[in-house]
């Protein structure tokens, strides 16, 4: 018999990472799916971001213990999933990317069946299947065969079967695939609810920056099997905050270059974009004072003064394909 849910306490105190990977490599015949992936995934919702073929699904397979890494180690909830697969998977929920539900079976029966497979006694499984389907908004539809449901409803059934046994860690592989914008909004709200209100750790695998940014606190970015960035999105976005100064250019002079020279002389890192934009690296709070004084002393006509932080998209574009790691 496996331990009960109280075991979760140890992993929720923030001390133990939910998933740890060290130099994990996975090859499929001639294809290098993962190449020395090293990262840690902690509490809350974490986005697993990468283009199609970046290695996200392979990584989920490794977390589930379905594949053995060619080299390196991966630890899930403190255990090696390849060695302790059954115990680890009993504490995981997984919603695959593609349709994976038998069309001729009622949603409630599918969800109950998966609950029992994860170790719940039949009576508990029956009751929790209803609860889980209500939770994802399919309470009234729960006895309908899955094959008669819309794409959005089937995605919800997949989410319900993944949460029915109250897992510690939820793996969602492209959960918004095939959804229209309204359905996608609803699904992301559900994921946010599951990761927040229900207290499950969630790994959200997606190739869509926007949805990862919307619901995830942290992110692991994969590119061609390599981890090119990882950490909290807020931290990654703070990697290179900048001050944008946009100047008027009415008199035919080149004020941007003049200002840039002045600021460089004061020891700041400065770049010029076009003929009106000066980009100043915000390395310290006193940079604002130096820029203010330079603008006042030079009598520049300022159109815009704005602090710009890197978005997740900036981070992704900067890192993906470059082969660099943060």
């Amino acid at each position: 018999m496996l331990g009960n849910i109280d075991d979760r306490a140890g992993s929720l105190n923030g001390v133990r990472p939910v998933v740890t990977a060290v130099e994990v490599t996975k090859r499929w015949s001639t294809t290098q799916a993962l190449s020395g992936a090293t990262f840690e995934i902690g509490d809350g919702v974490t986005g697993l971001l990468g283009a199609n073929g970046a290695g996200k699904t392979t990584l989920l397979g490794l977390i589930l213990g379905l594949h053995r890494p060619n080299s390196g180690t991966i630890t899930v909830l403190g255990r090696d999933p390849w060695v302790a697969g059954a115990d680890v998977r009993a504490r995981l929920g997984y919603a695959p990317e593609h349709d994976a539900l038998p069309p001729d079976v009622a949603a409630h029966d599918v969800v109950r069946h998966l609950a029992e497979l994860h170790g719940l006694p039949r009576r508990e499984a029956t009751s929790r299947a209803s609860d889980a389907l209500w939770e994802v908004g399919l309470g009234e539809e729960r006895f309908r065969p899955v094959g008669t449901m819309s794409t959005g409803q089937r995605q919800r059934v997949k989410l319900a079967q993944a949460i029915v046994h109250d897992p510690e860690l939820l793996l969602l592989d492209e959960p918004t695939n095939g959804l229209d914008p309204a359905q996608r909004d609803d699904m992301l709200a559900l994921i946010d609810h599951v990761g927040g209100d229900l207290g499950m750790h969630v790994i959200l695998s997606s190739h869509l920056l926007e949805e990862v940014e919307r619901v995830s606190a942290s992110v692991v970015i994969l590119d061609a099997g390599r981890v090119v960035a990882e950490g909290e999105i807020a931290d990654l976005s703070r990697t290179a905050p900048e001050l944008i100064v946009e100047l008027d250019r009415d008199d035919g002079t080149d004020p941007a270059r003049t200002l840039a020279s002045t600021l460089q002389a004061s020891g700041l890192s400065v770049a010029v974009e076009g003929d009106r934009l000066v980009v100043v690296a915000l390395e310290a709070s006193w940079v604002y004072d130096v820029v203010r004084d330079a603008l006042a002393d030079g009598g520049y006509s300022v159109r815009r003064l704005e602090r710009r932080t890197a978005s997740l998209e900036d981070v992704y574009l900067a890192r993906a394909g470059s082969g660099r790691t943060i």
């Binding site: 059954a86 009993a90 997984y94 593609h98 998966l114 497979l117 719940l120 209500w134 109250d166």
Partner: protein, 312 residues
């Protein structure tokens, strides 16, 4: 305000809407054995068409009916004709010969109903969800094998058991308790061996495809085709006699006959594995062929399920 009114208000103040909704699960979590049993039960239900529309029940229950009907008829005959077994010894078969009456039911059940165990999981990609549970590929296959073999026992074990018990209840069965227990043991062994062999075959072919129709046709083709080909080799072109042991339509029943101490030659079983010159194949060859066929079929299933990609 009356006393009655104040009671109502007090009751209202205590009222609660009981809607717990989704909540943390603090109960027990059962282990892998529970998962295996759950999947085996679920698969058996699907094979039999239980909890599904009526059209899914027709085939399995027709095969079951065909398997039990002769036993019921024989018991009825013995009930209507006193000392029927003694007066009509050639009409009422023993449990070993009974399989000759239900060969078609067993083959049809194995070929047409059993593919339901594997094909839908692959076709709907549900296998990926199974393998994300505490099950792995080995325990998944174990559960499927338990389900298929268990359901096949309905047609391989149940009917001869019914026949013997039915005859015994009318004092027309084995003459002593020891003989009765020996017959029960033989029925159990024969039923299990038939279920194992047909179970292995009816998992091997469906493991090669995700289409039930193709799996059923392939199973029938293998079972009936191997019988036709080995007959042609042995009787048509006078090839090696032991090739008859690869007749998959007859081999399982031949093994069952040997368990009952009967040879498959024409004196006992017209469809048995008699060689062209009239002598039966040796029991060693029959047992070795049965074990070999079962192991090869199991190995094919294992190879296919292990090789099925669920995430990559």
């Amino acid at each position: 305000m009356s006393d009655r009114d104040s009671d109502v208000i007090a009751a209202d103040a205590r009222a609660r809407i009981f809607e717990p909704g989704y909540r943390t699960y603090r109960g027990v979590r059962l282990g892998v054995a529970h998962s295996v049993w759950t999947l085996a039960r679920h698969t058996a239900e699907r094979i039999l068409g239980l909890k599904r529309p009526a059209r899914y029940k027709v085939l399995p229950f027709a095969a079951i009916l065909i398997a039990y009907l002769p036993a019921i008829a024989f018991i009825g005959i013995v009930a209507l004709i006193p000392n029927g077994l003694q007066r009509l010894p050639n009409l009422i078969p023993g449990p070993g010969r009974y399989y000759g009456f239900i060969t078609a039911a067993i083959v049809l059940f194995a070929a047409l109903a059993a593919p339901e165990a594997l094909c839908p999981d692959k076709r709907s990609h549900f296998l990926g969800l199974y393998l994300s549970s505490p099950l792995n590929r080995s325990t998944y296959l174990l559960a499927k094998a338990i389900a298929v073999i268990g359901v096949l026992l309905l047609v391989t074990l149940g009917p001869p058991l019914l026949l013997v018990v039915g005859l015994a209840l009318q004092n027309d069965g084995p003459r002593s308790f020891g003989a009765f227990m020996e017959t029960l043991g033989q029925i159990l062994a024969a039923g299990l061996s038939l279920s194992l062999m047909f179970g292995a075959l009816s998992l091997a072919i469906p493991s090669l495809t995700d289409r039930r129709g193709i799996a059923s046709a392939g199973s029938l083709l293998l079972i009936l085709g191997s019988t036709a080909i080995t007959n042609v080799i042995a009787f048509g072109v006078h090839g090696p006699r032991n090739v008859l042991a690869l007749s998959l339509g007859r081999l399982p029943f031949e093994l069952a006959l040997r368990i009952f101490g009967l040879n498959g030659l024409s004196t006992r079983f017209r469809g048995g594995l008699g060689s062209p010159n009239g002598s039966p194949l040796s029991t060693v060859v029959v047992v070795a062929a049965s074990v070999g066929v079962t192991l090869v079929a199991a190995a094919v299933t294992w190879w296919r399920v292990v090789g099925t990609e669920v995430t990559r």
